[in-house]
């Protein structure tokens, strides 16, 4: 592949094959068909203690078929894209679908809801053609340039750097979704990623680890240089851990890990949980369950930003919209099937690029710490889970005790316990420091009165 321009990753021949499979399934008796053809190419260079430790090259193709036959539904896929084999596979799949039970709620989306403007896949400017000219040598240079290990001696201050594992990768992902109503929805994106996990040893022989990562659809926006040193700094910052007594604390959760506390709320607004009554936000649409100052929106159409998309997996067009506005729940996430089952209008399958609006006057983590004065800063979660039916949660945390707006000392082996409605109603601050490499733009958050066990 070196120094040769790749063609668009899905070829005209492959696209023609997908269309043929769609037509073939119709001919064999399917009333409705949706086909997603996807292809990805990934190159990875792993680093260990200053050297290349691993290389990987991966080219994946798959075809997924969703078949609607005599009011019955089935999902099938194969990575063997040979025409005759696929025809036999489709015939057998249609036979299998007919053995299942009918469900009148299984339908394709209404045609007017389907995306119309995803023709070449690059409309959202998520494709960086720099990737076409990256050679194996260039990739190696990029990876090696990101290491902190060569500066080990200068960086070791009161600790020993035990291990530095890094991974650089770049990938192209291309997919095309077709359906028997004429849907043609293509999405093409590149991704460049760097990640490090670093372990240090303190003077007492304790091992302390941490990580850092960055990603971007565009190579020029990837923060290669600072990643390894950030992981090292985060690991070394944990030296001197002390325990603190349990009790109620103001909890600051940094933007790297804050999604842990929002994702279960978004899941509770998902159609599957709602329809199965396995959601603590059942019957919440239009109700003000959160504080007036909390607004969370979905912004799937922002060009050039991680995670954006023009359509969901059904091919339904996405749109910017409020999720929670001034504390009021404004939408559920309902695909066609779940909406039919709940006998309500469909929306979109799930949230795409979630944005938490700022609360209070603070831009950064340091601003938040200064405002809260005393509390606990959470820089990572260690396990835990939540109960989707009740909203109760319990998570392990690690971070720092905060006194007078400053990090007093690191803490770990602590737990927070509570329920999400109470937690979010005690939100005091939301900064403006969300990480652009994440699909959920959640800034540093501060919550009052959180139960901490230690």
């Amino acid at each position: 592949m070196e120094n040769k321009r790749l063609t668009e990753i899905l070829t005209a021949e492959e696209i023609s094959l997908a269309q043929h499979c769609l037509d073939f399934a119709r001919k064999e008796g399917a009333d409705g068909v949706r086909i997603t053809l996807s292809k990805s190419l990934m190159n990875l260079i792993g680093l260990l203690n200053g050297e290349v430790d691993k290389t990987a090259h991966a080219l994946d193709r798959s075809m997924q078929l969703q078949l609607f036959v005599d009011g019955i539904f089935g999902t099938f896929s194969s990575n063997s894209l040979e025409r005759e084999g696929l025809e036999a596979f489709i015939k057998e799949a249609i036979g299998t679908v007919r053995m299942l039970e009918a469900d009148s709620c299984r339908t394709l989306p209404a045609p007017e809801r389907l995306v119309k403007n995803a023709r070449d896949g690059k409309e959202l400017e998520l494709y960086d053609d720099t990737i076409e000219l990256l050679s194996a040598q260039k990739r190696r240079e990029l990876a090696l340039s990101s290491m902190a290990w060569p500066r080990k001696d200068a960086l070791e201050k009161g600790f020993r750097l035990i291990a530095e594992e890094g991974e650089y990768s770049d990938s192209v992902f291309d997919s095309l979704t077709l359906d028997s109503q004429g849907l043609y929805a293509r999405h093409t994106e590149t991704s460049f990623e760097i990640g490090y996990e670093t372990t240090v040893e303190d003077s007492a022989g304790n091992h302390l680890s941490s990580y850092w990562w960055d990603a971007s659809p565009l190579l020029k926006d990837l923060k290669l240089e600072s990643c390894a040193e950030t992981a090292l700094r985060r690991a070394a910052a944990q030296i001197g851990t002390q325990s603190v007594p349990g009790g109620k604390y103001t909890l600051v959760v940094d933007s790297e890990c804050a999604s842990k506390l929002l994702t279960p709320v978004l899941n509770a607004l998902g159609g599957f949980a709602l329809q199965q009554k396995n959601s603590f936000l059942l019957d919440s649409l239009g109700k003000k369950l959160f504080p007036e100052y909390l607004t969370i929106t979905d912004r799937p159409l922002t060009k050039g930003q991680t995670g954006c998309r023009l359509f969901d997996s059904e091919g339904v067009a996405t749109a910017d919209m409020p999720i929670i506005e001034n504390g009021v729940i404004k939408t559920y996430f309902l695909n066609t099937y779940i909406a039919n089952k709940m006998e309500v209008p469909p929306t979109i399958e799930d949230a795409t690029r979630v944005v938490v609006q700022p609360v209070g006057e603070c831009n950064t983590l340091e601003d938040v710490l200064a405002q809260i004065g005393d509390g606990i800063l959470v820089t990572g979660f260690n396990g835990g889970n939540s109960n989707p039916a009740t909203g109760n949660f319990s998570y392990g945390i690690e971070g720092f005790l905060i006194k007078n707006g400053r990090r007093e000392h690191p803490v770990r082996e602590m737990l927070i316990t509570g329920d999400f409605l109470t937690l979010w109603n005690n939100l005091r601050l939301a900064a403006r420091d969300a990480r652009p490499c994440m699909s959920k733009l959640i800034p540093t958050l501060a919550f009052d009165k959180v139960d901490v066990s230690a």
């Binding site: 290389t55 063997s80 680890s209 835990g384 392990g396 082996e413």
Partner: protein
């Protein structure tokens, strides 16, 4: 199930000459070892929801992974076709790793041999094939579970029953001319129920997973699952979260084996130790828990979810004592780490699929029974907690801090189980917890649930433990 060699050669359209040519391509840049991993996996699934089996499907995954080692460095690539051109291109991509010189050769590459014989024991013979059976054959099994749940529990509002099965044909070959083949079945059933009482909702789930054919779908299993998922619902609604803090924890037999998986098992995986990151990196031969304790990782339990005739590097499945009489005696090795430590691989080189290079992974991890009685362990605790149902866990390898999430348990007050508790996380430190084991009962159980370990890749595992008392762990609470 171990089939005939020609079945695998025909399936992947290869012969020994092609395999040797491909190995040569992989070693063209001077690598010290090359192996090939061919896989053809068929997946099937059925889902019962809202009283009907209205969703199902099947999936095929086919390809070959090619790994080239240059000392301890790994080059990896895969192809989704077994045409020569595609496989050779992947081999050349993997071969690039050899452009970086390395000092240590992996296990056995200095002394090529004809390889190990196939094991006499087949740990997962298939009585009834999953492939080729009409899906409708399985529908009554799912329907029986749902009907039984509703008959047993009037508070059951929503019942989901899912069946997932897969059969993987595997062919492995390497530059030592070791040729291995295997067919691995797996069947998994999960049942999830949402209950409602006085406007409150609770959920409970259970599962079974075995390396078995379709013969596992018996009426007795359906009854067992329905009984299990409908038990303890009164306690689930009555349960509260305890006051948090440090306290003794009695881990019930079976699923509490998650403690071993998270607190010890990962830290014993040799890649973490080879890289110096594990908290147990310099503890080989040391007393790490009280005398009398044996901790094992076992790939030989018949029909067990974690069992293997061969691991994914072609090493025969085996039983590995990690801790004997309280002393750390073995890490869990793949070929690379075994070479690093100068020991034989332990059969723990595993991978999610042909898309991944193998790394050291657990199989079925458990502790042998001890001399104590369960009731005595509970009676010895004045104020603590008993736990017996879990959902997930994780560990920080460097620090050794582990957590697991408890779905249900009981407070222990004055040596007796009292208030039911739920939805709490427990956190501790691996070495500290091992050293703080106060008693081990004689009731070892291997949990039959669908445990999956997610270290870089997902692989099926299993865990088990007898009832164990740990002196102090941090329990989440209000």
């Amino acid at each position: 199930m171990i089939g005939e060699k020609n079945y695998y050669f025909n399936l992947f359209q290869v012969d020994t000459q092609i395999l040797d040519r491909l190995i040569s391509e992989g070693l063209r840049s001077g690598g010290s070892y090359c192996d090939l991993y061919f896989e053809n996996t068929t997946y099937g699934s059925l889902l019962l929801r809202d009283g009907a089996v209205t969703s199902g499907g099947s999936h095929i995954d086919f390809g070959v992974g090619i790994r080239v080692l240059s000392g301890e460095k790994t080059g990896y690539a895969y192809s989704e076709s077994t045409s020569w051109a595609d496989m050779a291109a992947s081999a050349r991509a993997a071969a690039q790793i050899a452009s970086t010189p390395s000092e240590v050769s992996p296990y056995g590459t200095r002394n090529p041999s004809r390889g190990e014989p196939n094991p006499a024991a087949d740990r997962y013979p298939i009585e009834q094939q999953w492939r080729g059976i009409p899906m409708k054959t399985f529908l009554p099994f799912l329907q029986q579970i749902e009907a039984d749940v509703k008959k047993r529990e009037s508070r059951a509002r929503k019942v989901i029953v899912s069946l997932a099965f897969q059969v993987s044909d595997i062919l492995m070959y390497n530059s030592q001319k070791e040729l291995k083949w295997d067919t691995r079945p797996m069947g998994s059933i999960s049942v999830s129920v949402v209950y409602e009482q006085n406007g409150q909702r609770e959920n409970k789930a259970t599962s079974r997973s075995f390396r078995m054919g379709a013969e596992m779908l018996t009426p007795a299993l359906a009854t067992e699952l329905a009984a299990e998922v409908t038990s303890g619902i009164d306690e689930r609604f009555a349960a509260r979260r305890p006051k948090g803090g440090q306290m003794p924890v009695v881990m019930g037999a079976g699923a509490s084996g998650i403690l071993l998986h998270e607190a010890m098992g990962h830290a014993f995986e040799a890649d973490f130790n080879r890289k110096g990151t594990s908290i147990f990196a310099d503890k080989m031969g040391c007393q790490i828990c009280p005398k009398g304790i044996q901790i094992i990782d076992d790939g030989t339990i018949p029909l067990n979810r974690g069992s293997l005739n061969f691991d994914d590097e072609g090493i025969p499945g085996q039983k590995t004592y990690m801790v004997e009489d309280g002393v750390l005696t073995s890490y869990l090795h793949d070929r690379i780490s075994a070479a690093h430590y100068g020991v034989k691989p332990t059969g723990n080189g595993r991978r999610e699929s042909f898309r991944y290079a193998p790394i050291p992974r657990m199989r079925a991890t458990y502790m042998e029974s001890g001399p104590a009685r369960t009731e005595d362990l509970i009676a010895s605790v004045d104020k603590g907690i008993y736990v017996d149902e879990f959902s997930n866990g994780q560990v920080q390898i460097g620090e050794g801090d582990f957590t697991f999430y408890v779905k249900s348990g009981f407070l222990i007050e004055g040596g007796r189980l009292t208030m039911p508790v739920k939805d709490i996380n427990i956190i501790g430190n691996g070495p500290a917890a091992l050293a703080d084991m106060r008693g081990v009962a004689g009731d070892l159980q291997i949990d039959p649930g669908a445990w999956t370990c997610g270290k870089e890749q997902s692989v099926p595992v299993s865990c088990g433990i007898p009832t164990v008392l740990i002196g102090s762990l941090t329990v989440g609470g209000e």
